[in-house]
Subunit: 197 residues, 2 copies
Amino acid sequence: MGKREDIRADLTERLLQAAIDEICANGLKGLRARDITARAKCALGTIYKCYTDLDDLIMHVNSHTLHALHTHLSSVAKKWPNPHDRMVALAKGYAGFAQSHQPQWAAIFDHELPVDRDIPDWHHEDQARLLKIIAEALGEIYPNAQRDRLIERAKTIFSAAHGVIAFALQQRFSGVDQDQLDMELEALARMVTAVQP
Amino acid sequence: MGKREDIRADLTERLLQAAIDEICANGLKGLRARDITARAKCALGTIYKCYTDLDDLIMHVNSHTLHALHTHLSSVAKKWPNPHDRMVALAKGYAGFAQSHQPQWAAIFDHELPVDRDIPDWHHEDQARLLKIIAEALGEIYPNAQRDRLIERAKTIFSAAHGVIAFALQQRFSGVDQDQLDMELEALARMVTAVQP
DNA sequence: TGTACATCAGTGAACGCGCGTTCACTGATGTAC
DNA sequence: TGTACATCAGTGAACGCGCGTTCACTGATGTAC
């Protein structure tokens, strides 16, 4: 009987969820170990039984968010057979996700690991899967392009859209108005997938 | 005779330069009041005589960087009479500046003021001046467009290019390869300024 | 120009707080017979 | 099933460190006569 393992698994899960909730409530910057364990109703030390440290826990939260984003965008992509329209829908879908999950979404990009520690493989894979959705649409638009070029172009388009969305959502820097965001994203997506040599 | 004022002005300037140098050396995250005053060869408390606090000093550093960026991009713009080519040159020029001033450039976007404090007007103006350079080129490409629409589109293009450059420079997220950055920026700038209804 | 006094700038030791991480403890879970 | 013992999970008070900010002090600058 694995009662101890069950407890551990339950604790691990509760801590993850508590961390997510705390980030939603106070943002990554306002995340404190004590708040997480208070919310998860366990002792402070438990974090270090279930995770290496706070950074490790945050990485898991971010992975969780990336999975949710991937699920969201996959389902959006499925609805649009035309690759041009699909790109527009993906851009808007990304904006919608970012908007409705703002603090978690921001955490993905704001969290910085200590320099001596490197990003786990599964995190890179999460990102690669996202890019694949875009690359696939591009492949349909440019059937003769090389696979590597498509991936590279997908990165460009993703980061461009991300830039537009990030500046629009965090008022801080002069991004586009929020109510013009969808319109501008549509324009961007259309321009960027107009056929060319 | 304003000897006291001279000393104060000198100190203020030295602190600014020391802060810039420290950011270059250790990044915004590694910026510490003690390191700044050590480099400026004055006492710790002096920061609070010349600036409200560390955040205020950082805002001044960022303003300094934005001015340098504006100067750089203005001179780039002057060299290209054709607005399409100018947009390409601006994108590459921005990437070049970001690359050669990475820590200072990153500081502009990484620095977060406490929520209760708002961004001074001069900081917004610095940003607006940057956008104007882009809007001007757009105005030549789309002579019939409204001024407001041009500004909005300039914001979109700026944040898109910024996204591409930011992801490419900070390896962290899957941005385009650094040696393909210029090529991708050129493609982006051309696509985004292709004539359309 | 010289002297006496007032002001106030720069100084840096000390304060204070936040907060991640540790570790000696204790009691529930698992094991042996 | 019951009892005695060993293990080891979760606990949370305490540690330790980093670091922004303050403030009583002192000596140079400015002022009055």
